[in-house]
Amino acid sequence: MTIGLEHYLILSAILFSIGLYGALSKHNAIVILMCIEIMLSAVNVALVAFSRYIVPTEYTGQVFAIFTIAVAAAETAIGLAIIISIYRSRETIDAGKIDLMKW
């Protein structure tokens, strides 16, 4: 039995589903951000697997993964800054209680 493209894609799908479940069902804003990181990593695994098995000499998937990692780092920094800022003014990071903009 050898490991093929499908194995990596299914691993990526499992990781993405776990991240989606966590992002939808958690109260703590930092845990939601961690779950979004899991989803981004899952997409990176799929991109690199496609790059390895479909176009092994082109490296387009790996280049895309590099850009995704850069944007994910920026997103984490801004997200955590917003969470800390909210914690200062409202003393909570419970996503259900941050309802200032709720209609």
Partner: protein, 163 residues
């Protein structure tokens, strides 16, 4: 054969750590498991002949993002609160399971055009040629520094004391 064993070890570690992030109530342990899962993904990159990306993964995800998240957990002091689930637990599980089933169906029923070429042993120089060479990605590469600069500035502005 060694690749098969390594893949299953990494896959089990990654999925177990990700499940721990979602299911554990202690936020700090969840962050530690998140870092473990990032390390496992770096191993998966090595199995996929992407050595440069594996190094990037360890540097940025394990190093930078892991430290950032742990720092944010310490600064917000909500560890006693834990990470309880909200009332959408069952709908969220159903949505995630439906997405997983759909992706599995699509992956297993598609005829992938698997290439028979063998990948290069080291990828760093090839990625550099792909990024900077003809038909490369020079413009996106110059937008990324602007994005990072805006990130640094806005993170400082957001966290600064207003007094």
């Amino acid at each position: 054969m060694g690749q098969v064993i390594a893949f299953w070890i990494f896959a089990v570690i990654i999925v177990a750590a990700a499940l721990g992030v979602v299911l554990l109530r202690n936020v700090f342990r969840a962050a530690m498991l998140l870092i473990l899962s990032f390390l496992g993904i770096a191993g998966i990159y090595i199995l996929l002949n992407a050595d440069f990306l594996a190094a990037i993964q360890v540097l940025i995800y394990v190093g930078a993002i892991g430290i950032l998240i742990i720092l944010a957990i310490m600064l917000t002091r909500e560890v006693p609160l834990g990470s309880p689930s909200n009332k959408f637990q069952i709908p969220a599980f159903i949505i995630a399971a439906l997405l997983f089933a759909g992706v599995c169906y699509a992956v297993l029923n598609t005829e992938w055009l698997i290439s028979t070429q063998s990948p290069a042993q080291t990828t760093t120089s090839s990625i550099a040629i792909r990024l900077f060479g003809k038909d490369g990605f020079v413009l996106p590469l110059q937008i990324i520094p602007i994005l990072l600069l805006a990130t640094v500035l806005s993170a400082i502005v957001l966290v600064k004391d207003r007094k």
